[in-house]
Symmetry: D3
Subunit: 66 residues, 6 copies
Amino acid sequence: MPIIEVNMLEGRSHEAKATLVKAITDAVVTAIAVPPDSVRIIIRDMAFEDYAVAGVLKKMPPQSAS
Amino acid sequence: MPIIEVNMLEGRSHEAKATLVKAITDAVVTAIAVPPDSVRIIIRDMAFEDYAVAGVLKKMPPQSAS
Amino acid sequence: MPIIEVNMLEGRSHEAKATLVKAITDAVVTAIAVPPDSVRIIIRDMAFEDYAVAGVLKKMPPQSAS
Amino acid sequence: MPIIEVNMLEGRSHEAKATLVKAITDAVVTAIAVPPDSVRIIIRDMAFEDYAVAGVLKKMPPQSAS
Amino acid sequence: MPIIEVNMLEGRSHEAKATLVKAITDAVVTAIAVPPDSVRIIIRDMAFEDYAVAGVLKKMPPQSAS
Amino acid sequence: MPIIEVNMLEGRSHEAKATLVKAITDAVVTAIAVPPDSVRIIIRDMAFEDYAVAGVLKKMPPQSAS
């Protein structure tokens, strides 16, 4: 504990993910005084076509020409 | 807010997802009077082999012969 | 299927929740042509002190006077 | 109900998943006396590079040389 | 790993939860050969008014007399 | 985006949660260069009787004397 889930749009590099989980873990360890070993992080990459704000997908289907 | 997660079996087209997030967002905006911008939707496609009912995994629908 | 999770801030009435799940279910049934019985919705009420945007909780702890 | 989500590292075979969902379902049915039909399980495969303990991402196990 | 989340309707006793997590853990350990220590389970109790099937909450608001 | 869910055992103070979400947000903003406004965090407090490792709840039911 804690178990942390990070939902973010796809496309981050392996290096960016490595930096991210290290930074979050350090932040949690410092903020609430838990041992680093207890911090688990799951990254969930989301496709652009699987995330919507205000009813619109981040990547819309191409329009047919007319 | 709200943040909505939709788990569904894989295979819907991009157009179907676009229609779905628009419909859900409109429903939420009307039902509980929040601004459209505040509605975020995450779609999680599930592979057929990753979903089980009564202890049995779903199977991919058979392809139509041709 | 689908299984839908709605995260929203606490305080909606029972009637509002009933209206909300009906509206979302109708939207899903119409948008992607699934039977109503297959639509399951889990509402997760969040306390204001358990949701943050930009690093700030929706309800912050009282400040000590100085 | 219940709806169960299993997060595990990628790489299990279809047979292993089939065995797993059957075993969990039987366990739940026996332990809390619900009908098998009511038990739904979602498996979420995680890439090794999407899971971290103590701030370090898991690595793909090395392939044995041959 | 694995990390398992069990969503179920509120009202199970403490004993039933203890039996449930033991049974699921044993099932997982046997089915996919992971060490017991690696199995983490989160139980999420849901209020009856926070779960809907077919657009109807498990516990509906009382009707006004007429 | 990103949307982050933090599952942790109940009992943290309001101040600790405020410190935690600020620290995580700063970490994410620095690590992957997203604007602070885009970072949303949901804290999920878990009761000790709702979390198990190795098949044992963090708080077990009292044993009957013998």
